[in-house]
Symmetry: C2
Subunit: 415 residues, 2 copies
Amino acid sequence: MVYIAVMGHGVVGSGVVEVFYKNNKSIISKAGIDMDIKYILDIRDFPGLPYSDKFIKSFDPIINDPDIKIVVEVMGGLEPSYTYVKRCLMAGKSVVTSNKALVAAYGSELLEIAKNHNANFLFEASVGGGIPILRPISQCLAANEIKEIAGILNGTTNFILTKMISDGMDFKSALELAQKLGYAERDPAADVEGMDACRKICILASLAFGKHVYPEDVHTEGITNLTLEDVKYAEAWGGVIKLIGRVKKIEGGRISAIVCPAFVKKESQLANVDDVFNGIMVRGDAIGDVVFYGRGAGKLPTASAVVADIIDEAKHLGARKYIYWAPAEKGYVCDYKDMASSFFVRVKSHDKAMTLKAAEPLFGKITEAVCPDSPKDEAAFITQPMPEGQFERALASLSSLDINVISKIRVMADI
Amino acid sequence: MVYIAVMGHGVVGSGVVEVFYKNNKSIISKAGIDMDIKYILDIRDFPGLPYSDKFIKSFDPIINDPDIKIVVEVMGGLEPSYTYVKRCLMAGKSVVTSNKALVAAYGSELLEIAKNHNANFLFEASVGGGIPILRPISQCLAANEIKEIAGILNGTTNFILTKMISDGMDFKSALELAQKLGYAERDPAADVEGMDACRKICILASLAFGKHVYPEDVHTEGITNLTLEDVKYAEAWGGVIKLIGRVKKIEGGRISAIVCPAFVKKESQLANVDDVFNGIMVRGDAIGDVVFYGRGAGKLPTASAVVADIIDEAKHLGARKYIYWAPAEKGYVCDYKDMASSFFVRVKSHDKAMTLKAAEPLFGKITEAVCPDSPKDEAAFITQPMPEGQFERALASLSSLDINVISKIRVMADI
């Protein structure tokens, strides 16, 4: 009998217990070994549940009980998650987590500890909720050199953008609706400012390219400044605005990584990922483009990914699952200012032709961007791909000509 | 050192060798053990290749060489593939195959032999080419009760349908173009008559629901009878026609399975799967809908899936990968005539109103289907979901009223 401890009984934690008991027979059969949940750690009381007797308020029974072979961390946040997970792995207990902040901050260290103590550390649920993505990358696409990954990694912002695009709601109203429906937190910063997507692209990058990538090293922009006018320009261009997390292999064994809103062509598989859904495109040298689509969050989808990891760890007790990446390296993630991007730019203008003429020498060849209902007092254009540093200098020069920039959005026509 | 034999040096086989050597360093590192290809079995000569010395024309060296731990079967067809694979597994050698005909015909038997001889039998490439699908179903979605799977499983027919839908080409011209581009064989029957998709849905059904499903037990219709008028009706209805393979769990532990062209809503993730791409939707009780998208065929995508299986087998030599299903059971796949479907029906008619009035008592509530450019001398309608047997009797009654049926296509508004 394998005993499991679940740390945290919030949305995901309660979902884990629910899925574990709901599909118990087939889960045990797939694991090939009998399993049960012995402890559930939460400081709150949960009377009246069929498993209320399993609740504990201290970590001690978990770490001290040699019967506990698998520990599920679904508390979220960095502390005490980090300390608890580390202690479990050092005691040779395998750990499953859905905690992207934890993996993005400490992934390589925890994987190393797991390796040294013959335990497993799995976190399929930390990216894409219930969508299978980490295991396919590490196993199914193992024969590929992965060239890049680009995805819609945050359901909250994708819901907001979908409402802006399809229903013409402005950002503020769409955010309020998302909060009302429970898709956005009362403090939505981590979602709308891109941090959540950033943690996920860091985990994907670390796994796909083999070295830890910290969120601090990834330039991140959210969607709070997007307006309905930007959305309409994107439509006139033949696409939609999506919050994209993207990582690419570049020359010299380095990578580029970014999280930002971007124009994406309607023909892209990512353009059709709407509402709270996530979509992740993996580009390999042999396979070409593969896209994974599904619910990137939510109680049961996330819980089902956690329980799948539990099954895998139960099958591999004392054996190692090969998921591993090396520690971070200075200079491995290139400065975003050196990356080339094509930009959509909107500026205040009383004379379109003159404004575009003034812009051309600064940005190189530009294409006017048009939009049927655009405000009269502005001009818009799309640049050729150029290094961001150069683009920012050109933008500064534009401002020095008293041409005020309203918005600038990256154009990703190749995903 | 693990030695590999590759049986077959056609499109996929040569791709396997190419990918194996191209990404060799990372492949060996992921396998965690040194590997090389020792033999390539093909009756043809391949002089002038860097690995021409590895070719053999007889199976004997492979079966007799104890150094050969992994055998790759990429010859296709049932014989001698079946005999060779069986002998390899009985000798304790692990086998990887991309051969869907083989797995659909002998999957449960070969998995049983593999189990009894502590070997592994993997076939990720047999469905969806390079798209990760079998491993995600068996591992990542293991905590789910899978309720159904529906997919575009054949790239050739999807290319033809895309040309009919987007470019208004008729079936014959689109097929000729597919042949010209190398997407369709000179004898396209296996693709356009649905057999290829049928084998794949059988493999998916067997894996997801645990019992072998034979192609003979799955009602299969191809796309050869589809016309541009049907395509236009589908568009007016708000969707597209796709060749769908679908399997569902039904009451009593049984399943329903079918391969047929179907109306699919534009909003469906499958509607946006175009050209030679495949898309597979898996519906689970916890995860909801997950969709996998990518190249379902082609030399390198398929080869990359084969090589990923090689890596997995090299990591699990002497240990078992848990992929297994039980033998087929009589009566397990329900008769398609007992399954309920909604149908689109086009009939010859000189008086629409009268025809629809005559149809209503036979089919129950129907909805007229309209299409701007439809021929004047016909009527079209969509039925409510009804058992196919009952639908066919209603259709016969319609014919007995001298109303001739032009086409009937299933409507799948729920995928």
